[in-house]
């Protein structure tokens, strides 16, 4: 007996809905619904470890440029995205900054930093 999980593959316009059967040890025992082998690999990764790059803005102390766009320099767990936003909301970026500068180290213990993607001032 095992549980099932579904993943939509984003590799190509097929958008295959891939069903994974997970056995009692938490291992993937069966994969169905994929049309190619890349889809299989993607589905397992996505199911076990769904990672997302977080992109957002932070507030600045520059009245001419109220926002600075930022990103995580590595993808983080999907479940951390919503939790991360109030943390970003507290940031007040001060000029001078350039793209790549770190605004938050090790966001929520993910090992990923939040970095500027543009300079301040522009």
């Amino acid at each position: 007996m095992g549980s099932k999980g579904t993943v939509i593959c984003v590799g190509c316009p097929m958008g295959c809905e891939i069903t994974l059967t997970i056995d009692d040890n938490g291992e993937v025992s069966k994969i169905t619904g994929n049309s190619c082998k890349e889809g299989k690999t993607y589905a397992v990764d996505e199911y076990k470890n769904p990672l997302r790059v977080l992109t957002a803005t932070v507030l600045t102390e520059d009245s001419c440029q109220p926002l600075l766009p930022v990103r995580t320099d590595r993808p983080i767990l999907r479940s951390k995205l919503t939790e991360a936003m109030p943390v970003l909301a507290k940031v007040r970026a001060k000029p001078e900054l350039k793209a790549g500068d770190i605004l938050i180290h090790n966001l929520l213990g993910t090992g990923s930093n939040v970095v500027a993607t543009s300079s301040l001032p522009c």
């Binding site: 939509i8 316009p13 097929m14 049309s35 790059v53 957002a56 766009p69 543009s118």
Partner: protein, 418 residues
């Protein structure tokens, strides 16, 4: 009159920047970009999400990061740019009139011109949404500018009509900013944009997705209070009896992009009525000699990487024209065949490598896209109208064409059709 400009580029978005850089690299001496907005980069400024440059740089960049690579390159090459400068008129003889805050009212006649004006968003009026006309209704791109540049949120209970990429991106963006996206409503039976966005912008956040539905009415004044959505029939009209009311304080529209060709028309450039942009040859020259075009102004792209590649072609073409090079002699017409909505470029010379860009009319699976009887073909697991297809054809393959061939049919064939 300005000191002679070799190549003038209209628009400093990704298309304009790429064209200008390439024009310089191809030897044009004076390359000048006119941009009516307040900075370089066009819409890349507000596209703070990632997914840019996967093909062109092999890296996953955000819009601003992608933009800055090209701005740096343009500066290194001494491309000139005038901001807050809008080209008001363009004639077939290249006479250009520009209103510029810094430089005043300019009249010039550049040797060559690249049209890179991009596109605009379809409005509620274009899709016949009736009811009230309150505040709180925006196109998705317009809202994106408020959210990502001005630091303003339109509301906290959002309905999004249209599941194109920009609509889905905004669904995620607003959810992350603390708003509640009540629904994404799509008239087709499938999502309009990339599957990646469907997963990462809609399903990731459990946003209700209503396929085969449309917004039939807007309620509330002076601020929107709700929309009525309903199932959509074959003609995209609301099916009576299927209505459902969704309370909201904002409606975003992501219902189509229209290439912005007002200047093109003034210059007498011939437009493709299906695509809405100029008819171009493989150098991206329009029907008016010396006027080239690239990017969304020609046809709406999905990936900025392709905008860049296409605009580089236009920039190189413009530089060649400015230096007096002769245009290619032969013009072989690319004809859209079975399940192909359009092909760009519209004509090729048959003498050089060429990349064809195209879109299908209907989604299909297990197809073969065939270019001409003898040229080349490609097998695809799945094609859909919202995913642009590319076919790269080597000059050698074109050599297989009969001498004097004046057209090549590009078609999308299913297994049965073989």
């Amino acid at each position: 009159m300005h000191q002679e400009v070799d190549v003038a580029v209209i628009g400093a978005g990704p298309a304009g920047l790429a064209a200008a850089i390439k024009a310089k690299q191809a030897g044009a001496e004076r390359v000048l970009i006119f941009e009516r907005a307040e900075n370089l980069g066009g819409l890349l400024d507000q596209c703070i999400h990632n997914g840019f440059g996967l093909l062109y740089f092999g890296e996953d960049l955000t819009g601003p990061e992608y933009r800055d690579r090209f701005i740096q390159k343009a500066m290194d090459l001494k491309v000139e740019a005038e901001l807050q400068s809008m080209v008001l008129d363009l004639q077939a003889d290249h006479t250009m009139k520009v209103a510029s805050s810094r430089k005043g009212y300019l009249t010039l006649r550049p040797k060559a011109i690249v049209l890179a004006m991009g596109c605009r968003e379809r409005t509620r009026y274009a899709i016949n949404i009736h009811g009230s006309r309150p505040s709180g209704i925006y196109t998705a791109g317009q809202a994106q500018r408020f959210v990502n540049i001005h630091g303003l949120l339109p509301g906290k209970r959002i309905v999004i009509l249209g599941s194109g990429d920009i609509g889905m991106i905004m669904a995620r963006r607003l959810t992350l900013e603390g708003a509640s996206v009540e629904a994404v409503v799509e008239v087709l039976p499938y999502v309009g944009g990339l599957i990646r966005n469907e997963v990462q912008c809609v399903h990731d956040f459990d946003i209700p997705l209503f396929l085969k539905h449309t917004v039939s009415q807007v309620h509330g004044f002076p601020r929107i209070e709700a929309v009525t959505i309903a199932e959509a029939d074959e003609g995209c009209n609301p099916v009576p009896g299927t209505e459902r009311r969704i309370e909201c304080d904002t409606l975003l529209l992501s219902v189509g992009l229209i290439p912005e060709n007002e200047l093109s028309l003034k210059a007498g450039v011939e437009l493709d009525p299906i695509v809405g942009g100029p008819i171009v040859d493989e150098a991206r020259q329009t029907s008016v000699p010396g006027i080239f075009a690239g990017g969304n102004v020609v046809h709406v792209h999905d990936l900025v990487d392709n905008v860049t590649w296409e605009s580089e072609i236009a920039g190189a073409g413009a530089a060649a024209f400015a230096s007096g090079a002769k245009p290619p002699g032969r013009k072989i017409e690319m004809k859209p065949g079975r399940n192909i909505r359009y092909v760009v470029p519209h004509t090729i010379s048959g003498d050089s490598d060429v990349t064809l860009y195209m879109r299908v009319k209907e989604p299909e699976r297990n197809v073969r896209i065939r270019v001409g009887d003898v040229v080349t073909s490609k097998v695809k697991l799945a094609v859909k109208p919202s995913s642009m297809e590319k076919m790269e054809i080597a000059a050698g393959e074109l050599g297989k064409l009969k001498d004097g061939a004046s057209e090549i049919v590009v078609e999308c064939l299913t297994k049965e059709a073989k």
